[in-house]
Amino acid sequence: MKKIFAAALAAALALLGSVSALAFDHQAMFEGMDTDYYTRFQGQDISINVYNWGEYISNGEDDSLDVNAAFEELTGIKVNYTFYATNEELYAKLRAGGSNYDVIIPSDYMIGRMVKEDMLEPLNKENIPNLKYIDPSLLGMPYDPDTAYSIPYTWGTVVLIYNTTLVSPDTDVETWDLLWNEDYKGNILMFNNPRDAYGIALKKLGFPLNPENQEQIDKATALLKEQKPLVQAYVMDEIFDKMAAGEAAVAPYYAGDALTMIDDNPDLAASFPREGTNIFVDGMCIPKGAKQKEAAEMYINFMCEPEVGAANCEYIGYSTPNTASLELLDAEITSNPTAYPSQEVISNATYFSALSDDLNKALDAGWKELLADDESFTFWLVPALLLVAVIASVAVVVRRARKKKRESY
């Protein structure tokens, strides 16, 4: 009896296993695709290095499609997938050199900057036929006027996330002022990258999202310094765990991730501050000197497949620029005002644009000043410690001389 039971159990488990594999039947999905195009590099043992944001692709968890695995299965091309936390980190890694990436996914302003600095390869659109699915209103933007260097991957907005159990009900949650609210001292999280942090500060001051001159940057820096004692931590993806656990009460972050967090912790909610927010597009690009340009273009094309785009955006929560994917998504998702906000919100939102070199440097300097700022530090410590060092050196020298004298007896 025991043996039969064990066998039945094993069979049941096997069945369950295969059922979950069927949850995403790759073969059925591949049938809708141009397999001749995709299998060109089969058997050639090619691999590409994809450098993307963290938590920014459907990776097979929670019954979602594992996009990279599906791509590898279809094309035989291996994907080395690593991630970065901010655009600036991506930029630093590329400039420092030595790392060879084939596909990167920067944000609009960073693409603009990289185009200016000749860091991207122009795309061969013949290798990316799925470009036809992308919403035309998201093409030809100022950062890439001829759509020569990037293909939109997602778009979205920045929202204010707050924990309804930790924030009192009569607080005004539709303003950036909430992030400077003394009531939540030590429970506020802030962006750990300069453009987003400064964007919010500038908006709070009533300035445009893209600083126009040094004076605006200085005022924003001062405002951010005021906020610093209230901030629990400057985070990027670390925010997921913190908000989910209720570690912090308010934080700004990207709309797609806000939806993921709300899913994990229903106590959370998102709002659009009335001062206006940032709307962004992230685009797939190929860095200059990439070794596998054609395979990279194949990867980009794969991302634009209707089903793949839909699976991606469904998992990561961001909004899709792909019209065909939009049709495949549940009405529940497409009617969500956080992911697909009203026209009113969109018209109140601004895109980041690439800044001039001078303004970039000023922003960088301000950001560094903010991070290094320590109000508990007084300048008196410097000469005091130097004095101590000098006294110590003198004492040591004197001691040595005295020892020598003693020993010379």
């Binding site: 630093a92 420092a96 410097v382 060092a389 050196s393």
Partner: protein, 275 residues
Amino acid sequence: MKRNHAETVLTSVPYLIWMVVFTVIPLLLVTYFAFTDETGAFTMANLSAVREYVAVIFRSIWLAFIATMLCLLIAYPLSYIISRAPQRRQRTYLLLVMLPMWINFLLRTYAWMTLLENTGIINRLLGIFGIGPLSMINTQGAVVLGMVYNYLPFMILPLYSVMTKIENSLIEAAQDLGAPRSTVFSSVVLPLSMPGVMTGITMVFVPAVSTFIISRMLGGGSNMMIGDLIELQFLGNAYNPNLGAAISLGLMILILFCMSMLNQLNEEDKEGMII
């Protein structure tokens, strides 16, 4: 009849070449980058920019100093007790001390993150007693705690190895001569353990002052230290290798200065340590 085997020196040639290429030249490169700007022209701008980060530098030194002193205070009695324990138990104690050292440094720091969070275990336990959640993480205290935790074994081991060499007979002799416990300590144990203290301080202070992981994971990004600053220039949110090289150079000089001070205080003639 001692023969001179001068040709034996030749066996070190592969190493000498390696040393020049991979140790000397990189450090020269750091100096080069520190004194040039992005076009390669000579400039002192980087070094003067370092002046702006004085607060960060002094915070690093201060926190590292506190962590080192705490390690010393905790490790000294511990090493002494272990060195006087019965032989078999000593080995077990040493094993227990060394074990955490072998677990990956990142995992250990991460472990403290989970303990110190507002909704972490410690606060939950305190909550049972009605004590409000203490904000422990993302403070300077958390960073010091992380440093002490990670580097404590590095203080224990040198102290222990020096204390085992202090023979019991010496202590007994001092006691027989009528010395009270405090004198036994200050005249016998302390001086003999000095070399270990110096080594321990070195092995804790240097990594503590230059860490960036501990300050990032436990400090919340608002308690920047020298290591964070350097990493920021190369792989982080700002790309400025020249400034990064300048700060690295400064850090190196700082450490060399501290090391030479410590070496002066250490009477023992260490082979090869000129500075």
